[in-house]
């Protein structure tokens, strides 16, 4: 099977070849960051201990166990990216990170940052932690472990992590927001189709 594999670090030039809806995999260095790590760096002003230029940030809090002096990743998958909407445009701007990986989509500020800085946001299927861990070749390091295992920054070497689906591309198109706004507009029609049954229930 033909799969597109993006090597990390990558560039805007490479990513501009991907459009919303395209699927791909990544190999190379991926760095986990969730709410607390974003907060400490962007609001707390603590310098980020990892250089993110050209890399991928994964919205993920893994299950890790220590075997001797080495960390082993047992399960890793995405967390809800919309919680990071408050921070992400600034992270993209300040660090030069090129791929954000998470689940469920991100909003218009992130889409605008992707457009301006030639970055993308991609969805890894949520709940697929065992699949994610099978792509982790090595845990290269951990920073800010005082935040707890899920919130720490884990630096991972991965091989063909995926499938990933582009949900925001370098031109700022936003697949998940399109699905969301379409779902919102479909609510009234769905309710109308329910009405006759609900009326029938109330009479029975």
């Amino acid at each position: 099977m033909d799969r597109t594999v993006v090597q990390l670090p990558t560039t805007s030039g490479v990513l501009s070849g991907l459009r919303v809806g395209d699927s791909f995999y990544v190999s190379g260095v991926v760095v986990t960051m969730r709410d607390a790590a974003h907060e400490r760096y962007l609001r707390g002003g603590v310098p980020l201990p990892v250089d993110l230029r050209g890399l991928a940030v994964f919205h993920a809090g893994p299950v890790m166990v220590k075997s001797g002096s080495r960390w082993v990743c047992l399960s890793i998958g995405p967390t809800t990216s919309r919680r990071m909407e408050y921070y992400e445009s600034e992270l993209i701007e300040r660090t030069g990170v090129k791929i954000i990986v998470g689940k469920g989509g991100m909003g218009s500020r992130t889409a605008e940052a992707c457009r301006r800085h030639g970055a993308i946001y991609a969805v890894f299927p949520g709940g697929c932690g065992a699949l994610g861990a099978s792509a982790v070749e090595e845990v290269l390091g951990v920073e800010w472990l005082d935040l707890g295992i899920p919130e720490a920054i884990w630096v991972l070497k991965v091989r063909e992590l995926g499938p990933l689906v582009v949900a925001i591309d370098t031109e700022g198109r936003n697949l998940a927001d399109d699905v969301l706004s379409s779902a919102r507009t479909r609510v009234p029609a769905a309710l109308r189709s329910l009405k006759p049954y609900l009326a029938q229930l109330s009479r029975s």
């Binding site: 299950v63 967390t79 697929c128 932690g129 969301l180």
Partner: protein, 301 residues
Amino acid sequence: MAFGATVYGKLVEILSRFVSLVAVRLPDDVLPALLKASRLEDSARARLMYDAMFKNIEIAALKRVPLCQDTGVLEFFIGLGEAFPHGAVLVKAVREAVARATGDGFLRPNVVDPVANRNTGDNTGPHLPWVDLEILPGVDYADVRLYLAGGGSSRPGSARVLDPALGLEGVAEFVLNTVAEYGPPACPPLVVGVGIGPTVEIAAVLSKRALLRELGSRSPDPRVAMLEEKLAEAINELGIGPQGLGGRVTALAVHVEYAGRHAATLAVGVSTGCWALRRGWLRVYPDLSYRVPSHRGVELG
């Protein structure tokens, strides 16, 4: 006391293995529902998402690792038979069992003390693991139902008290709006639990109990069974699809549980379960033998 200590130790052992099983393997009813839903999708993107889920289920079982890295906070719904002799010990054993399963690498430490804002490290904390107790008349066993409440799938959870004039239409509107707004990142296809009652907490607890019901089951009340079916159809008109990237099936099922309401209130609660619906049912007998009806043919490792 020596006997008591032994019973406690045995129950911690059984419960921690049960917890680990639930983190690693889906209950028997979920995979057939996912397979059925996947066949209704015709886009390559939706199929790619389902293929990843099916592969993930296989890898987790093979390697005995958590299916999803978010193993949630643990909610126990325990029914104690009135003649079950170890009720208090069983309830006490839950906490240590959860801490042990965490130490064994089957649960990610998720519990954060909201005041100190610190992770407690072992999935125990104030009121956690959550234990909901009821007495089962006329039997001598205990039923332990476990639900792993992940962050992403708990995020859509909502409850509110409506004015009765809004009726079931108000209930339906609340359910549809909740799923449309918060469903996409909650790892659809979802199981949607709806609770109806007099107050928010009763509606909310019933909505979670609705998620404990087996997929494919229907409310014994034919009117409510129809409501469940029609609500599921309406949700599936929203087009959210697997992982919120578009598709035909957004809800695998809708389950409705209800209590009487106050003449002046109509409370509705919504809880959502992700596709990786990790719940289990363990039955423990007085001699501490047990079976796991939710996961037939699987031994507790």
